[in-house]
């Protein structure tokens, strides 16, 4: 079994390749699932607008590490418009904002992290259709840390030697303050405008569903 060891299947070496492979497959699956559905001009336009909002809001805060309203906007759009649109908004926001901030190996991971943030918010709505302010605040704060957790994977798996839980948490702790800043900004945004934004988007979603009836149907 010499070749088996040589190829590094049991070795630590292939974990980065494996993590990238899983990442790319996940993103492709999500997008494939979205592409399969028929296209509707309204949802396409809304998804583009929300992604642009999320992406634009990241640019003025570029100097402050991890402080940005993008996560918050993605979560709220996922909460109102559902899991699938939430994923699309999150991942598109990552691509679009990085076009001005700089693409890099982090782009696909951000696509996944923000996409999952939006998707999880869509799932959250199934369990809590009318979420309280405290609940939304907690959820947004939590995502500040989960985002850091996802973003840590590629750095940890490719560049740190003993791939153990201990070293993972050590790398995670190194970025803990940045993640806390991220979580704090999310919490503040959720407190100040969480409910308002949900209300705006909810009203808008109703407006999207409304269609004109021809006069002959009205009696």
């Amino acid at each position: 079994m010499k070749w088996f060891k040589g190829i590094g299947l049991l070795n630590d070496l292939n974990w980065p390749v494996l993590s990238w492979f899983v990442l790319i497959i996940l993103i492709i699956l999500f997008y494939y699932n979205y592409e399969k559905k028929g296209s509707d001009s309204k949802t396409v336009a809304v998804a583009a607008t929300l992604s642009a909002l999320a992406a634009v809001s990241r640019v003025p805060f570029a100097a402050l590490p991890n402080v940005q309203p993008t996560t918050f906007i993605v979560i709220v759009s996922g909460y109102v418009f559902g899991a699938q649109l939430g994923f699309i908004v999150g991942s598109t926001a990552a691509v679009v904002s990085n076009m001005s901030l700089g693409q890099g190996p982090w782009t696909p991971w951000q696509m996944l992290a923000w996409g999952c943030a939006g998707m999880s918010a869509g799932v959250l709505k199934h369990f809590r259709p009318k979420i309280s302010k405290a609940g939304l605040t907690f959820f947004c704060g939590l995502w500040g840390y989960i985002f850091g957790l996802i973003m840590n994977i590629w750095q940890w798996s490719a560049f740190i030697y003993p791939l153990t839980l201990k070293t993972f948490f050590a790398t995670y702790l190194l970025g803990f303050w940045f993640d806390s800043l991220h979580a704090l900004s999310n919490v503040l945004l959720a407190v100040f405008m969480g409910k308002d934004l949900i209300k705006i988007l909810d009203r808008f979603q109703k407006k999207l569903k409304a269609t004109y009836l021809p006069p002959e149907y009205i009696e």
């Binding site: 010499k2 070749w3 040589g6 190829i7 590094g8 070496l13 292939n14 980065p16 390749v17 990238w20 997008y31 979205y34 592409e35 028929g38 296209s39 509707d40 001009s41 309204k42 396409v44 336009a45 809304v46 998804a47 583009a48 607008t49 992604s51 642009a52 909002l53 992406a55 634009v56 809001s57 309203p69 598109t92 926001a93 679009v96 076009m99 001005s100 700089g102 693409q103 890099g104 190996p105 750095q155 490719a158 560049f159 740190i160 030697y161 003993p162 201990k166 070293t167 050590a170 790398t171 190194l174 100040f192 405008m193 308002d196 934004l197 705006i200 988007l201 808008f204 407006k207 999207l208």
Partner: protein, 295 residues
């Protein structure tokens, strides 16, 4: 000089994959050398300043973090203090060298993505992907176009608010934040209103009425073919090296020898040549008119 997106994706993808498949310092340095050659030959150095500042920080993190986290080397340089649970924080030569090695790998990854971003035309990439994922690419392109539009809208809205007497500065911090947040709500509402208009005009132009047409006329020329062949050849060569064990190098508990036998030296040379040839192709493409005729 323009490339087909597939050939560049293949080349950079293979290079990054190979750098993940080995920890051998010689191979990593050769990969880095290749990327530096590409950077020089495409005149990307002048744009490199802001990239360097950021990437050096990431490289440094990896270099510093490794010796702090791993204590399995044999040559102890500094005996660290004893910390409960974690153990002794010894800094070993092996871990330090491993950190530097990983720093090189990190730099390869960052530089690879940087070169990819500056060489590949994103419009071409979009139109290539739009054949498979039309909707997603349309959303991305629309969002990208909306970015400057939104910045303009923000300016208009803040001017309108100021004309109404709202002050964004000098009313205490909480009042300032509240006034600015109200501006955000205005932007959200008006952007969403606009999106209905966009959707209607898309509907009028028969969006979604049938299968999407896609026109991608970029030619896969001789240069692209040569680059792709080289990339695939390097991949197979490296797989051969993997089976032969030429790619492996161990840092712990002791450093293994850099060069096992003469065959390995030949292998390094071949990998380097096959990854460097595309740079020469590009150079030749500029000089030699025959290649231009073939594209």
């Amino acid at each position: 000089m323009s490339f087909h997106p597939i050939s560049i994706t293949l080349y950079i993808g293979v290079l990054l994959l190979l750098s993940f498949l080995t920890v051998h310092p010689v191979l990593l340095i050769l990969f880095l050398l290749d990327l530096i050659l590409i950077t020089v030959s495409f005149n990307l150095i002048s744009h490199l300043k802001s990239f360097m500042k950021f990437s050096l920080l990431m490289v440094l993190t990896v270099v510093v973090l490794n010796p702090l986290l791993s204590h399995s080397g044999q040559t102890v340089l500094v005996f660290g203090p004893y910390i409960p649970i974690i153990g002794r924080l010894d800094i070993t030569l092996e871990a330090l060298l491993y950190g530097i090695n990983m720093g090189i790998r990190m730099f390869i990854v960052l530089l690879g993505f940087y070169i990819y971003g500056s060489v590949v035309n994103s419009d071409k990439m979009f139109s290539l992907i739009s054949r498979f994922a039309g909707k997603s690419i349309l959303i991305t392109a629309m969002a990208f176009r909306m970015v400057p539009k939104m910045a303009k809208k923000l300016k208009t809205a803040s001017e309108a608010q100021m004309a109404r007497g709202v002050k964004f500065q000098g009313r205490g911090k909480i009042a300032n934040v509240k006034n600015t947040l109200s501006l955000v709500k205005i932007i959200v509402v008006s952007a969403l209103e606009d999106s209905i208009e966009t959707a209607e005009s898309m509907y009028i132009r028969a969006y979604g009425s049938g299968p999407r047409s896609s026109y991608f006329y970029e030619k896969f020329g001789l240069l692209d073919g040569l680059i792709s062949i080289n990339a695939v050849f390097s991949l197979f060569l490296s797989m051969f090296g993997l089976f032969k064990g030429w790619n492996s190098f161990s840092f712990y508990p002791e450093l293994s020898t850099i060069l096992k036998d003469l065959d390995q030296l030949v292998y390094f040379f071949l990998v380097f040549i096959s990854l460097t040839l595309p740079v020469f192709y590009c150079w030749g493409y500029k000089r030699w008119r025959f290649m231009k005729l073939k594209t």
